[in-house]
Each structure stands twice: as structure tokens, then as C-alpha cells.
């Protein structure tokens, strides 16, 4: 395969095809099982139609996990590209400490660990060895993706855009399954969120760990309330 740091995508695949594959709902990280607290927001009536869903998710992207995870991914990507193990370990540690609840931690580490496991077997890259050498703990999803993308030379901004779009689309899919919106309205919400994804990706690409921070207080609260929600489809 000859996949070394800096090489442009796995042999025979373009960056676009690689990102589409890794961020497809078919990639075995189990993204479908997580609603990021949206299930409680729907129960509480905060999210009840296309307009309220779009507003809620736009804020989760811009002021919640979307932007923060994008910055973590960017810092990780740069750390791998410059072979800076200390910076990589710092981002990996911070990514776990930033979890705002037990279910948010579960959401990011089950996907992150599963992603690392699959990519190690199917798209091996020395970048994953660097991660293993510098960080022994669970791996947050954004960090896992940042390591793999940098290891395969995938461009940062496109990786960030694809990551944020997949995050948004996964939550819209959750809303569809919760009966908040139908399929067509769901796609309209996803389409409306894509410009936000691009804007946040552009900002995150040059951001540092000190730029991390959010204000999605009621989204975080929804994640707490979800833990004691009586009937649940989702693990977060």
C-alpha cells in the first residue's frame, strides 16, 4: 500500500473518495447510535420542526462540539504533519477532558476508538503509530480522524468540511428517526447547515487549542437530561 505521512491519499484513491468513505454512515464507527442530546431536545419540545432543528444544530456546530472538535482535528492534523508528538498528546488529552457529560464522552471515544481500529487494519499509516507512541488512552473521534487524515496527506480544510458535514448529517438523520422532520425537510436542513460547516472549517483550520470554547449551554444540558430520559433510541 505504501501509505506514509505526506502521501496524497491511499494508493489509487483521491482525498475526496477517502473522506467520503471514512465519513460515510456505512463506516463502522456506529455514529447512528448517537444523538448528541438531540433526543432530549426533541422530547422537551425545543426541537420540533425544520426551523427549530436548523437553529439548534447551527448552534451546536458554531458554539458547541462542532467548532471545538474541528479545532481539535486541525491541531491534531498539524501535529502529525510536523511529527510533534507532544502537541498530539496534548490535543488527545484535552479532547477527552472537554466532554461535558458521561454520554458525550462515550459518544466521542467509542467512535474514535472504532475509527482507529478500522483504519489501522485497512488504511495503515505511520501516523497511527505516532499516536500509539504518544497517547495510551481512549481516542476522541476528532483526534482519530485528524491523525488518519494527516497520515494520508488529506488536505486539512476539506477534512474539516467533511467532518462537520458528516456530524450535521448524522444529527439530521437522528432527527428524522425521532420523527421531528420528514426526509425531505431533513435534507433541506442539512443543505442549510453546509455553509456553516464551511465557515467553521475555514476558521478552525488555523485555530489553536486556546481558541476552544463554547456556549451551547442548553445543548449540554440536554445531554445531561438524556441520561435519565425514560424512553431512548440513542446512546447519547
Amino acid at each position: 500500500m505504501g501509505t506514509t505521512t505526506g502521501e496524497a491519499a491511499p494508493a489509487g484513491a483521491s482525498p475526496l473518495l477517502t473522506l467520503m468513505t471514512w465519513l460515510s454512515p456505512a463506516f463502522p464507527v456506529g455514529a447512528f447510535a448517537y444523538s448528541h442530546g438531540l433526543e432530549w431536545a426533541a422530547e422537551a419540545g425545543d426541537v420540533r420542526d425544520a426551523a427549530s432543528l436548523e437553529e439548534w444544530l447551527a448552534d451546536v456546530l458554531a458554539h458547541g462540539a462542532g467548532r471545538n472538535d474541528a479545532i481539535l482535528l486541525a491541531v491534531t492534523h498539524r501535529a502529525v504533519t510536523t511529527a510533534d508528538g507532544t502537541a498530539l498528546a496534548g490535543a488527545a488529552e484535552l479532547a477527552l477532558a472537554l466532554a461535558t457529560s458521561r454520554e458525550r464522552l462515550l459518544e466521542t471515544v467509542t467512535q474514535g476508538n472504532a475509527f482507529v481500529l478500522t483504519v489501522r487494519k485497512t488504511w495503515p499509516t505511520p501516523a497511527l503509530d505516532l499516536l500509539r507512541e504518544t497517547w495510551a488512552g481512549d481516542v476522541a473521534y476528532a483526534v482519530a480522524l485528524g491523525v488518519a487524515a494527516a497520515g494520508h496527506g488529506l488536505p486539512l480544510v476539506q477534512t474539516l468540511e467533511a467532518f462537520l458535514a458528516a456530524f450535521a448529517a448524522n444529527l439530521v438523520s437522528a432527527a428524522v428517526r425521532l420523527g421531528v422532520v420528514g426526509q425531505t425537510d431533513g435534507q433541506a436542513v442539512t443543505a442549510a447547515l453546509l455553509p456553516h460547516c464551511r465557515r467553521i472549517a475555514a476558521e478552525a483550520a488555523t485555530a489553536e487549542l486556546d481558541d476552544i470554547g463554547g456556549a451551547a449551554f442548553r445543548s449540554d444540558l440536554a445531554s445531561l437530561r438524556h441520561e435519565t430520559q425514560y424512553t431512548r433510541l440513542f446512546r447519547s
Partner: protein, 292 residues
């Protein structure tokens, strides 16, 4: 020296402006900008905890009421508030086995900042087997306030920490909102050297409009967070949930990584304060300090 006597000698212009209803807060020239804080180290002697060393600077004082059953320190800002360019630093260290509670005499008022933000730096260090309750009263952000706060905790694996912080947006009794402002607040908590929790709040620009949005504040005017870290912390999740129950504020709790976190959000700061007091008293099994 009483707290009131201390208050009279520091920056009376600001103190009066803050208490005079509807009076605009004057711009404060750079030369009166305040830097100060308190540094205190607690240690045990004769089976009790005592403040071993105390250092006060600027307009800040710390007092230890004699009638308190435990070692209880009250931090006093004799300036009556903070504005842009002000810096407050609090440094607390507990020797192994020490037990202390720290609070503040009054809510901290954050006035409008013209250029530089107001800066607060808090460092808490907890030695082996020590116990700290960090329970300051709320911070009130005036319109156009800009606050950068850094709170760092470095605690031994078997130390216990109960920490509660709350923020009110605007002088709500006067109908004020934080139309514009900045809140950049980061807590970094290490336990046995391991980073176990980072709370990173970043809210800037059109604060009131942002807080009106459902995923942000849903019209919130006050926020509070309680963090409890102790060897048995995760086992106390149901205690925390029970303590939260019955209030007017939106709230929830979770436990992971050896810690319990509770969050409260409310549109009525007075109701949220009452919920916070009741929750902390129930959870700790002790009354709040006198100034609360």
C-alpha cells in the same frame, strides 16, 4: 477591621456608581485600575485546619470568621467590583489532610470594559487527603463587561473538591441585559496530574441575542455549574440529582472520570441562586456560609 471599614477606602467612585440605581458606570481611568488578590495556604495543627500563610494585595482581603465550625475563609473585594484592565489572582493551597471552605463576601460585579478585559486567575492546589469547598458568590456581568477567567485545579488523587460557580448576565433588577460583552472562561482540573475536566466557555459579541437561542440559553440570564471530585464522587450522582430536584431552574447532572457535574440554567437569577443554595446545602449536608 470590619469589611465595611475596608470598603470605604477603595475606589468609592465605582462602589457608589454600582449601588446607585440606573446610574451609568463612569469610565475609569487607567491609573485606578486594580491588581490584587489573595494567597492562602492551609495546614493542619492540633487536629484542626488553620490558614498557615496569608498574603493580601490590592483591594483584596480574606477573613476567617471565628465562629465558623470549619476553617472558612471569606474573600472580600474592597473595591466593590472590577472593570476592564483589572486583574484578580487567587491562589489557594491545602497541605495534606487540610479541610477548608472558601467563599466571597458579595457577588462580584464586572463593570463595562472599554479596552482590556477584566482578568481573574484562580489556582487551587489540594494535597493528599485534603478537602476544599470553593463556593464564591455569583459574578454579575454588566452590559459590555468583558471577562477572561482562568481557573486551574491541581489535586491529589485522594483529595476532595466541591466547586460551584455562577454567572448572572446583566443587572436584571434594573432590566439590564448584556447586549454586548465577552465571557472567556476556562477551567482546567488535574487530578493526580491527569487532566480530568476542562470547562471552556466562550461567549462574545451579541451576548443577549445569543443567549436567547434555544441551544445556547433559551432566554437564560444565569448559569451555574457544580463540580464534585472525590474518591467516591461517581457514587454520589443520585445524591446530586436528588439535591437538584424541585427547583425552578433547568438542571441536570452526570458522573464520569471520577467526578460529578451539575449544571443549572435559568431566566430568573434569584430563583437560580435559591436553587443553587438548596442543591449545595443538600448535597454537602451543611448550611451555606453566612454571607450567602
Amino acid at each position: 477591621m470590619s469589611a465595611n471599614a475596608l470598603r470605604s477606602d477603595m475606589r468609592p467612585d465605582i462602589d457608589q456608581a454600582a449601588t446607585a440605581a440606573a446610574a451609568p458606570v463612569p469610565n475609569v481611568p487607567a491609573f485606578v485600575r486594580a491588581r490584587g488578590g489573595v494567597r492562602v495556604a492551609f495546614a493542619t495543627a492540633g487536629g484542626r485546619t488553620h490558614p498557615l500563610t496569608v498574603a493580601e494585595s490590592g483591594g483584596y482581603r480574606i477573613r476567617f470568621p471565628r465562629n465558623a465550625q470549619t476553617c472558612e475563609g471569606t474573600i472580600i473585594n474592597t473595591g466593590g467590583g472590577m472593570t476592564g484592565g483589572d486583574l484578580m489572582q487567587v491562589d489557594v493551597a491545602l497541605a495534606p489532610g487540610a479541610q477548608a471552605l472558601l467563599t466571597s463576601q458579595a457577588a462580584e460585579k464586572l463593570y463595562r470594559a472599554e479596552a482590556d478585559p477584566t482578568r481573574i486567575e484562580v489556582a487551587l492546589r489540594l494535597g493528599a487527603g485534603s478537602t476544599l469547598a470553593w463556593l464564591p458568590q455569583e459574578m454579575i456581568l454588566f452590559d459590555r463587561a468583558r471577562l477572561v477567567r482562568r481557573l486551574t485545579v491541581d489535586m491529589a488523587p485522594d483529595a476532595s473538591l466541591t466547586l460551584a460557580e455562577s454567572i448572572v448576565f446583566g443587572r436584571t433588577a434594573m432590566g439590564e441585559e448584556v447586549v454586548e460583552g465577552q465571557l472567556d472562561d476556562r477551567w482546567s482540573i488535574r487530578r493526580g496530574g491527569r487532566l480530568v475536566l476542562v470547562e471552556a466557555v466562550r461567549l462574545e459579541g451579541a451576548v443577549a441575542a445569543r443567549l436567547a437561542r434555544r441551544a445556547v440559553g433559551g432566554g437564560a440570564r444565569a448559569l451555574a455549574t457544580i463540580v464534585h471530585i472525590a474518591p467516591d464522587a461517581e457514587a454520589r450522582l443520585e445524591d446530586m440529582r436528588a439535591a437538584l430536584a424541585g427547583g425552578a431552574s433547568e438542571c441536570g447532572a452526570s458522573a464520569w472520570n471520577g467526578l460529578v457535574v451539575a449544571r443549572l440554567i435559568g431566566s430568573d437569577p434569584a430563583a437560580l441562586r435559591a436553587d443553587l443554595v438548596r442543591t449545595i446545602e443538600t448535597f454537602r449536608g451543611q448550611r451555606m456560609p453566612r454571607y450567602w
